[in-house]
Symmetry: C2
Subunit: 334 residues, 2 copies
DNA sequence: GCGATTTCTTGAAACGATTCAGAATCGAGT
DNA sequence: ACTCGATTCTGAATCGTTTCAAGAAATCGC
């Protein structure tokens, strides 16, 4: 059985294809009894719109693309969720891609989106994709940066003040009496990371006698954090930091695990620990984790809002929305 | 600037539209020098295929739909990741939807997919969607159930032996000397839940003197688990279970948090705890969590494989792949 | 009763890529 | 010289929807 088309419905209901289309899209323009008759035919024939044809005619899809850096980081699923809920209100779907921190996968998704003449793109970029986004914009596809502010302000963005976040984290460690602080991170080419680092440095700079050490980890994952933690434990006692600021909660949880596993290091006794993002699991960690909260769902939702406005009016000036992070104190620094 | 079409490319390169299309899809049928010339024009004009037009002609999209029950449960992001990686190999994208355990949202996604004439559907169903999937099948859209076996075997599925998992979990609690076991769950209309419960009952049945209590929680989330845990703590000591089997790790982590928060209950001393799924965070919990591991990524990957085979040959008999779960023992039951 | 409106409906013309039967060209074989 | 086959290219037809100018019918005012 071939799927029924508007033509079949029109024939069955004894009207023209134009009328069927109007029933579907502008029912107020059609005589009520015609509407019911056509709707009846639609039901009996099991007609379902062919979205490809509709898009072809419309020139634009009803889908928003979202490319995140790491789908396994709950912070990004929070963003996705926020975006999805807001998009659903506007009868748009979200096409979610995980770039897995690879520029090439990121590019592949953007290519795909371009072929789809997607409604708009949300992206938490890995590399510098401004030129790529310019190309999309030329095609009439708006883009909003998520979790990163636009370097030159040519694109709208929704982000968090990571400098403030980093500063907040380290100030908190210092106010808890910590002097030898370590910053655990990787991907120092990522703005998010450098901003947090800059914030951390600023905090240290205003407190003489406090030092900041940088420890590079493999990746932004629990496993990588665990490895870093093991290396810390292997250091001679006097050589260990007494406060750690991890660039995200995944790493923080990994470190925490490694520290606590061998009983010789106490958290927060010997080492206090601050994470970043305040993912749901942070409060359920071995030692409940102090963290810098970022409003993931709100970010996703806001990004979709901006995207929709820009899609409606491409001449709109780019906007930079910056949310303030919030310190959530738990046992890991008490 | 309007986007260039095949027609523009054809004019620029001095060939017909058919040739341009052949360069795109069957370059071996075109003279090499023509190919380079056309490719040159494609580049200079910045031509990008219009996927909607292509799909309209092809009658089918290059996208696979995936509907999960809860995107914030890492188990499902693992599935998504496995599926995505496998799909990328086949040059297909994944359209990810979160039904949020709502049948209506689930249905909305399936409707969307049907309009898109999607290549195939993977779904971890909330309600009974067999009739809905039959409809899709009639339209030539194959579906594979994920994390649930097909009730009547009319659809392929990739799942885990949840009876065995439940049994394993409770046997383990019993062998750790626990006598008063509680099963924490909700959504008893879900097959996954009832199977685990049945497994738990079977384990209890074969050990006289061991009791099984069912405690219903609000939802399958950390928060719901925390609430249940608080209620447990408020019980008089003798009335508390000494072993808990939580239907998933999110709930287990919530319970764990609540139990450990007030220092009166020790885990595993007073209450041993087993979760389900073995999400990444389970090992990083307050007390590292014993759990029943399910191979999420593998499930996603396998589901895509089956889907692709069925898409290629719709006459293929449905297949039920069942993976065996695995007990991962950690401190919460030691 | 008649033109002017308003209300519904019609059907052909897009949208842009793919396909496929047939045209054009060239060599080889007889 | 002519046929046959292979290779390459052509361009009209097609997919299914939406749009829109124009037609038909009903309603209104006077």
């Amino acid at each position: 059985m071939v799927a029924a088309s508007v033509r079949d419905v029109a024939a069955h209901a004894g009207v023209s294809v134009g009328t069927v289309s109007n029933v579907l899209n502008h029912p107020e323009k059609v005589l009520p009894e015609t509407v019911t008759r056509v709707r009846g035919s639609i039901r009996t024939l099991g007609f379902i719109r062919n979205d490809a044809a509709r898009q072809l005619r419309a020139g634009r899809s009803k889908t928003i693309g979202l490319v995140v850096m790491d789908i396994r980081n709950p912070f990004f699923t929070d963003i996705a969720r926020g975006a999805e809920n807001r998009a659903a209100d506007a009868a748009l779907a979200i096409l979610l891609g995980d770039s897995d921190q690879s520029s090439s996968r990121e590019g592949a998704y953007l290519d795909l989106f371009e072929e789809q003449r997607i409604h708009g793109v949300l992206v938490s970029p890995v590399g510098d994709i401004t030129p790529r986004l310019e190309k999309l914009r030329e095609r009439g596809i708006p883009a909003v940066l998520v979790d990163r502010s636009s370097a030159d302000g040519t694109f709208s963005s929704v982000s968090v003040d990571d400098f403030a976040g980093g500063q907040m984290a380290v100030e908190h460690l210092i106010s808890a009496g910590r002097k030898r602080i370590a910053f655990l991170a990787c991907s120092f080419d990522m703005r998010q990371v450098t901003d947090r680092f800059a914030g951390a440095r600023a905090a240290v700079a205003s407190h003489p006698g406090v030092t900041l050490e940088v420890i590079e980890v493999e990746s932004l994952t629990v496993i990588a954090g665990r490895i870093a933690g093991q290396q810390l434990v292997e250091r001679p006692v006097g050589d260990r930091p007494d406060g750690i600021f991890a660039v995200n909660d995944l790493i923080a949880m990994g470190v925490l695990q490694a520290l606590v596993m061998r009983r010789e290091v106490r958290v927060p006794g010997d080492i206090a620990l601050v994470g970043y993002d305040d993912i749901d699991f942070a409060s359920a960690a071995v030692v409940p984790l102090t963290s810098i909260r970022r409003p993931g769902a709100l970010i996703g939702q806001t990004a979709v809002n901006i995207l929709l406005e820009e899609a409606a009016d491409p001449a709109l000036a780019p906007r930079q929305v910056v949310f303030q992070p919030e310190l959530v104190v738990r046992e890991s620094t008490l």
